[in-house]
């Protein structure tokens, strides 16, 4: 995240230098980006739940689900989030909400049908870990920063397009070269920013896996759940790119298909850079390592 902020600062400085507008460009971009993203952050729970057509889970029909969520929130020291169910065969789950007090957790009916209690507990612990680590806030920050860079790049291009003739009194060849470099970087920067955003998303997924195990003290639950997810081929019907990072496993059929083929080579590597979730094998491998250090668990 720090690297991201440095990148934004650098781009902001470049923008100011090339357009002669100083740091005001950066300020304006930050304000606009904030306005665009933070509305959705504040209503992130309502938006995510509406987009996936989630229904509140009745405590009588979903007694076990409620019991598990309640137990885990006691373990995490969090208020119990609202519990929802999404009618979908694909096993998956997500957590949303701007802070632990306004949090909500949703599971698909497919997940409820395919997982046993241990595995369900592991998955829900992962979601609660997202809530505890305030990952909606983190990802919103990341998206905001991407927005800043994209805006600056966009304005940069417009400024050059419309105000090109003012460039002559800038001081000759050296100035023009730097300006050109600046333009190139400002065009590439949004791409880097996106890659950083996806990298952050993957990191937070690993962190949520680790925190889930810390909550349950039982790595096998989540590990077995991830293994079951690995062999399942269905994709969630109501998922979209915008909410993909919220689910425990990428709900997008394209990302799932890539993960399954286990492709190698530069093309595959490039594709993986754009994925919101780490590949399931890496996640399972990381979890396996925690079982070896049993003595490290705090009583």
């Amino acid at each position: 995240m720090l690297g991201f902020i440095v990148l934004v600062a650098a781009v902001g400085w470049l923008f100011g230098y090339v357009t002669g507008v100083g740091y005001w460009g950066l300020v304006a971009a930050v304000v606009f980006s904030l306005l665009m993203t933070w509305g959705s952050y504040f209503n992130s729970d309502r938006i995510a739940l509406a987009m996936s057509r989630a229904q509140p889970a009745d405590p009588r029909t979903h007694l076990q689900l409620h019991n598990i969520v309640e137990g885990l929130s006691i373990a995490a020291g969090l208020p119990k989030p609202r519990v929802y169910v999404v009618e979908d065969e694909a096993p998956n789950a997500f957590a949303t909400g701007r802070d632990p007090k306004h949090a909500a957790v949703a599971v698909t009916s497919g997940l409820l049908g395919k997982m046993n209690r241990d595995e369900l507990e592991g998955v829900l612990a992962h979601e609660l870990a997202h809530i505890k680590n305030r990952d909606t806030l983190v990802m919103t920050l990341a998206v905001t920063l991407v927005g800043v860079i994209v805006l600056l790049g966009d304005w940069m291009l417009r400024a050059l397009w419309w105000g090109g003739h003012d460039r002559d009194d800038r001081g000759g060849g050296a100035g023009a070269v730097v300006a050109l470099l600046g333009v190139v970087l400002l065009v590439i920067a949004p791409l880097f920013a996106q890659l950083l955003q996806f990298a952050i998303s993957r990191r937070r997924e690993f962190l949520a896996d680790a925190d889930a195990v810390f909550l349950t003290r039982h790595p096998q639950g989540l590990t077995n759940a991830l293994r079951k997810l690995q062999s399942d081929r269905t994709a969630v019907r109501s998922a979209s790119r915008a909410t993909a990072h919220l689910w425990i496993e990428s709900p997008l059929s394209l990302e799932k298909a890539r993960g399954e083929r286990g492709a190698t080579g530069v093309g595959a590597w490039l594709n993986r850079l754009f994925e919101t979730h780490p590949p399931l094998e890496s996640r399972i491998a990381a979890l396996q390592q925690t079982t070896l250090g049993a003595g490290a668990f705090i009583p």
């Binding site: 007694l63 076990q64 409620h66 019991n67 598990i68 006691i74 373990a75 995490a76 705090i298 009583p299």
Partner: protein, 192 residues
């Protein structure tokens, strides 16, 4: 020169206040975590009479096991203080485990909707109790660390921040439950 001394004293005073407040907050979290355990325990106590009645309806001659549960519950409700309650709770958990093991031999009981709902509720409550204990122990750990680490232990000593016990598993409950599927004549003994 006097300004330097005043400055140092001010910094030390602020440091003292900060550390003291931190210890107070950590200690209060332990109390809050304990009452959380209490809430879940009460839920369990309230579920048990119903469970005993349901089981009696199908397995009345499992008197030993049922009596053990009733006894353990009474003991747990009457227990006072963290250690006594922890011990009583562990005995009750063992007795309930016996009861469910014994119930496995009665298919009509296992199919009873009331029994199933109670079983799920009790499992859920056991889970909540376990997690509440886990959370409690984590708070005790944080508090103990703060109390014993070098600079803060001086202040802890000055203001009598006493040690808090962990909620520990009792030795008997660490032994495996012996289950005997004899014809309605279970020989499994509840932990004394």
């Amino acid at each position: 020169m006097t300004w330097i001394i005043i400055g140092i004293v001010a910094v030390l005073a602020i440091g003292l206040v900060v550390v003291y407040n931190r210890l107070v907050r950590l200690r209060n979290r332990i109390d809050a975590a304990w009452s959380q355990i209490d809430v879940q325990l009460k839920r369990r106590y309230d579920l048990i009479p119903n469970l005993v009645e349901t089981v009696k309806g199908y397995a009345a001659h499992e008197r030993q096991t049922l009596e053990a549960v009733i006894q353990a519950r009474r003991q747990a409700v009457d227990a006072r203080g963290i250690e006594e309650q922890a011990q009583a709770e562990n005995i009750l958990t063992g007795a309930l485990r016996q009861l469910f093991a014994v119930a496995e031999a009665y298919p009509e009981l296992r199919a009873n909707q009331n029994f199933l709902a109670l079983q799920e509720e009790l499992t859920g409550t056991e889970g909540r109790i376990a997690f509440a204990r886990q959370f409690f122990n984590e708070q005790v750990l944080a508090y103990d660390n703060a109390r014993e680490v070098f600079p803060t232990n001086v202040i802890a000593g000055m203001f009598n921040f006493e040690a808090k016990p962990y909620f520990e598993a009792e030795t008997e409950s660490r032994e495996n439950v012996r289950v005997d599927f004899g014809q309605g004549n279970s020989q499994a003994q509840p932990p004394q």
